[in-house]
Amino acid sequence: MPNDRREIAVDYLARVEGEGAMYLKIDGDEVTDLQFNIFEPPRFYEAFLRGRYFGEAPDITARICGICPVAYQTSAVNAMENAAGMFIGGQIRELRRLLYFGEWIESHTLHVYMLHAPDFLGYPSAIEMAADLPDVVGNALRLKKLGNTIMTVVGGREIHPINVRVGGFYRAPTKPELQALVEELEWAVETAVATVSLVAGFDFPDFDREYEFVALHHPDEYAITDGRIVSSSGLDIDPTEWPDHFEETHVEWSNALHANIKGGGGYYVGPMARFALNGEQLSPLALAAASSVGLVPGVTNPFKSIIVRAVEIVHACETALEIIAAYEPPDPPFLTVEPRSATGHGASEAPRGLLYHRYEIDENEMIVDAQIVPPTSQNQRSIEEDLRQYVTGRTHLDDETLQWQLEQAIRNYDPCISCATHFLDLTVDRTDPQG
């Protein structure tokens, strides 16, 4: 229908985290309006952090998300420690990495198998997929359970961990407690490698575009808990410089702020950005798994992000084994941190991408101002641009096919709409210009 105008509205997008909608208006072959609409009600976390004791930030911000609470806790403790002029290394940092890998395994497995794979295999959901592929879904549930177990052993609870505090942990797990994870992690490495092969065999739409990738970078490892913020165009800054280079703006169709590079535009955070900027630092088996399916850093087909997530599961499991092998319980399990009259910045790599926090602390160690910039907020413009470019050249597709593929394109980002401010409302509007 090249001469038609039409409108596609998705009022509810399934298999994403949260409540959102999409509206698309097409005039002939041209997209005349496109809005990724997050209508999750604002939850005012930044506002009610004000007046709270700095040490409460990890527990309060963990409540922002049931899928990635460790990310919120880690960026929060990084910021508080930064405000106190401290950096926590050694075995406390290793435990933080292990806890974070638990979250990556849990979150990535949920997305790769249960939310995104059905798109590629033509199933409406994982339930129908499980009827045909019970072993695959069974492995997914077992992998996810492993991620949750790591979070329980290190974090004290699989959802909203309670063992994380500014300066470290309330209690360090014992060596036998971590050693008990080894057998299942060894199974998980093999299963994760097989997952890379599985998802790399999917049919991917022919779609690439140029991205400004932004991620943390660490000189010695595939960054997850801390690092400098780097980009594919050469940005290389400390997280304390985030406000100098990035800004948040409001658009009327979304309850989540859009993040932009000052003087630039939208950018991409998440697995493809990490892989593009840090891919050489993946664990040996993860690198080998990527190489075996021809995946090289710099991939720009967002649909292939599912392969990158699978590679990151391998990395998480293999590196978790290394951490456990070298583990010595930190004693004490935390260092005293006393931020006073200071501003602290913290960033870490949530499963969905860079998560930045900033806190201003007064002389009584109370929070007077807070800023939290989740990955899905940062990816909103990129999601909209993906959709706009994807539709161009595919306007001949019928509404049902177009809607399926556009929802799949949104799920490329594993959007956590709850974090960003939940469901996607897709409306495609096509109107006959003669009519």
Binding site: G66, M114, A126, E128, A131, L141, K145, N148, F423
Partner: protein, 139 residues
């Protein structure tokens, strides 16, 4: 084992219903979930007797309690939803597909009125919570 699982957000009005019921019953092995419904499958064993309590949105009068034998019947699509990607109804159906349901699975749904953040339960739901908790305690 007899296991009672209460699902809900204690800070979101009537969505707290399942959470509150589970918090008041001491005669069962109790679990409470605010998120991560996929973990439900890990909470039960094949021979367990399981009861799930959750808020629902079916269009019935607020505070209405329905009881569904989930071994015999499918959960009504949409009534037990979640703002998270995998809601309780989907998890129960996934478990059914994978032959991983417990021996007995009864789901109680309490019709929610409002689920605004930071609000208390409505009187009708609070009353239903009290009554159901008493029934389960004595069951």
């Amino acid at each position: 084992m007899r296991r009672l699982i209460g699902i809900g957000n204690p800070d979101r009005g009537d969505d707290a219903a399942g959470w509150e019921v589970a918090g008041r019953v001491t005669s069962w092995d109790v679990s409470r979930l605010t998120a991560g419904s996929l973990s439900l499958i890990d909470l039960w064993q094949d021979d367990d007797e399981v009861v799930i309590v959750d808020a629902m949105k079916s269009g019935a009068p607020v505070g209405t309690v329905v009881c569904i034998d989930a071994i015999c019947d499918r959960l009504p699509h949409g009534a037990f939803s979640s703002t998270h990607a995998f809601g309780p109804a989907a998890v129960v159906e996934l478990a059914r597909t994978m032959a991983r349901l417990p021996r007995s699975l009864i789901v109680y749904g309490i019709e929610a009125g409002q689920v605004e953040h930071g609000t208390p339960m409505t009187t009708a739901v609070a009353t239903a919570v009290d009554q159901l908790a008493l029934e389960l305690q004595d069951a």
